[in-house]
Symmetry: C2
């Protein structure tokens, strides 16, 4: 199958999108979350099974954009004031959810007889939560308005900042000198960026959006402003050191209270098209080097179980004061590692600290946690009444404008 | 400005999107079509002026997708039965709109003293109409329901098939042997594909869409089916030899009568995001080699005027029976060459038949016709009452679903 020439773009769109949706349908029919099907579709068409497609730059770009629009859309449903309220618990959840997985990953690799630096990197790759997966499941089930959901979202954002620091420390420890001043600056900037946008972004947009609406002459002013916010906060986030999706989430949250249903319609369209590329993109990265030997396959399974148990215990402990059932939900909701764990492992691979078969173990852990988590999330939220955020019918007829 | 690393994707999205929209706003305030501003934004940030960005694979992919969604969205507003009704006139318009520009371009280059093969290729590059630009202007002004608009759309589709044949003939004449059997097969396949989808696509979808809606369990079944149609018809179109956007347009038209407002909301979102990349992407290709000498700059201006006059005369003559004002509109609406002319010139460049400075002339002609046409289109449609295709408020509250 030729993947170059003028048909390359629509052909790879077709393959990934249709594979993801066919598998989503299969999983829905099995009463399982469709999201798991979409991730597995990537595994299926990817290099490790059918080999129709491998990860490439174009698909990686669509996957990045898909993750950004997923988090932007979730941000649009969340009030920053409510997220700030759970900030204390979320910080606790994030911190203990970082410490326990790191120690467990490090310890297991050491006990397995691997080099100390490699053990440190594997521990670091188990730290960060992939908030996209959980957010998608919660949003689809109409559960974003639960307190536990807000704690998960806030903790995942804090997690990203902590993960950045852990990665910086780990890279310095294993690869160079630890520059405390630089680390302090990075930490300060990351926290300042997140807190400032979360705290004053909504207020600023409440003043700015009506102004833009009144004075701009081009079509869809809210959408145009929102995309500018989304991409500029994503760029800022990356420059500061946190993930682009954190910027996208903050952009959505800043706009949540000042924008109307039309923006939600339009950005939902983009998300519907691109999120399957994010999900299948995770699956595309699966490779079989983790299973090159029986011993390594066993390690992969142990690390997977440790990744699940450690986040569950760490985050559950951090939210124990909220009561057992909330702690259970938060512990399960923080399990998926997704693309974040892979990035850390890739850096270790680039440094020559992580070897290929251990890289395979981390990738397996990252993908498998995202596949295992959605059914568990569904289970622990069973019986909770969904609050579906309606897209209210527009008061006036919306006109088909193109400019 | 670094265009690699994790910020590359959101940064280039930000630059192109915001530049396009700022320029659109400027042009709207000058009472000019915003679309011209979006194309000029590409010229401005591109290599020939500010040099912030050049054409690259990622932007080219977004531009291709933008053009597909533009035509898909237009297709959704057009009934295939109405398009078939104007098929006779449209064929006449397309044919005379191919012959006159070809002869004029060829003649001018010969008179200018250029080699005969190069003259043939320049003539061929003046043949095809870029339907995207005109369709966008007509849709924005609510004029898609005019008879002249339908003739323009149908003629542009036929134009694309004719352009394919002209390119095949020209390539064989200048570069190899003319294989009549192969040419016949290509022509037959292209015509068969277009006619079959246009004639029976709507009917097939009217049976298929309700079935899919009833039986699929995943979210947004209409959107999922539509994307599958869009991408598969785009792939088929390319494989057969016509442009991907022809497939996208046919997909939209096939779905026009069986899908609801929700699909329009969602695909409008994708189009709002991506169409600026198509428009600015045209501008990004402008290069200054056309103006390397005074003599060449003069040729560029002559070719631009010839491109406009020849399409205007050719298409106007083909639709003369419709009355003077309709012929005027059709003649003007077929002027933009956009990306299609550039593709032909690139092939000539690849064969070594077109030299760099003549390539620059064709690129200038392609971009300049797309910039000049929208104000002219606005002018010739002055006084025509717009029929804005409403996006009717959904009967029931649409629910925020993510899966």
């Amino acid at each position: 199958m030729s993947m170059t020439g003028p048909a390359a773009i629509p052909l790879s769109m077709l393959l990934v999108f249709v594979a993801a949706k066919v598998m989503a349908e299969v999983f829905e029919r099995l009463n399982q979350p469709g999201i798991v099907g979409e991730i597995l579709a990537g595994v299926l068409i990817g290099p490790s099974v059918l080999g129709w497609l491998g990860p490439n730059e174009f698909l990686a770009a669509l996957s990045d954009l898909g993750a950004m629009f997923l988090l932007f859309r979730v941000g649009l449903e969340v009030k920053s004031s409510e997220l700030m309220k759970v900030g204390g618990t979320a910080t606790l959840v994030a911190c203990s959810g970082v410490v326990v997985p790191f120690l467990m990953g490090w310890g297991i690799l050491l006990a397995w007889g691997e080099p100390s630096n490699e053990a440190i990197f594997v521990g670091a790759s188990m730290v960060a939560t992939s908030v996209g997966i959980t957010a998608q499941v919660l949003a689809a089930k109409g559960l974003l308005h639960e307190v536990s959901s807000k704690i998960i979202l806030a903790a995942a954002v804090i997690d990203d900042v902590l993960g950045l620091l852990v990665l910086a420390v780990v890279s310095s420890l294993t690869h160079g000198k630890l520059n405390l001043a630089q680390l302090g600056t990075t930490a300060f900037l990351a926290v300042a960026f997140t807190v400032i946008v979360a705290k004053w972004g909504t207020h600023a947009m409440e003043r700015f959006v009506p102004h833009v609406e009144r004075h701009l002459k081009l079509g869809e002013p809210q959408f145009v402003l929102s995309m500018a916010m989304l991409f500029s906060l994503a760029v800022l986030a990356v420059w500061i050191g946190v993930a682009a999706i954190v910027g996208a989430f903050l952009a959505g949250m800043a706009l949540a209270e000042s924008t109307g249903p039309r923006l939600r319609h339009l950005s939902n369209g983009v998300a519907e098209l691109l999120v399957p590329f994010f999900l299948a993109g995770i699956g595309l990265h699966v490779e079989l080097s983790a299973f090159s030997s029986g011993r390594n396959a066993l390690l992969a399974l142990i690390i997977l179980v440790a990744a699940m148990v450690s986040k569950f215990i760490g985050c559950g402990l951090g939210s124990w004061a909220m009561g057992k059932s909330e702690a259970l939900r938060i512990g399960v909701g923080m399990i998926p590692r997704g693309e974040v764990g892979m990035v850390v492992a890739q850096i270790g691979l680039g440094f020559g600290i992580i070897r290929q078969h251990i890289y395979g173990v981390v990738v397996f852990m990252s993908v498998a946690t995202t596949i295992v988590a959605p059914p568990l999330i569904k289970m622990v939220y069973r019986g909770v009444k969904p609050v579906l955020a309606a897209e209210p019918a527009a008061a006036e007829e919306e006109v088909f404008r193109m400019e």
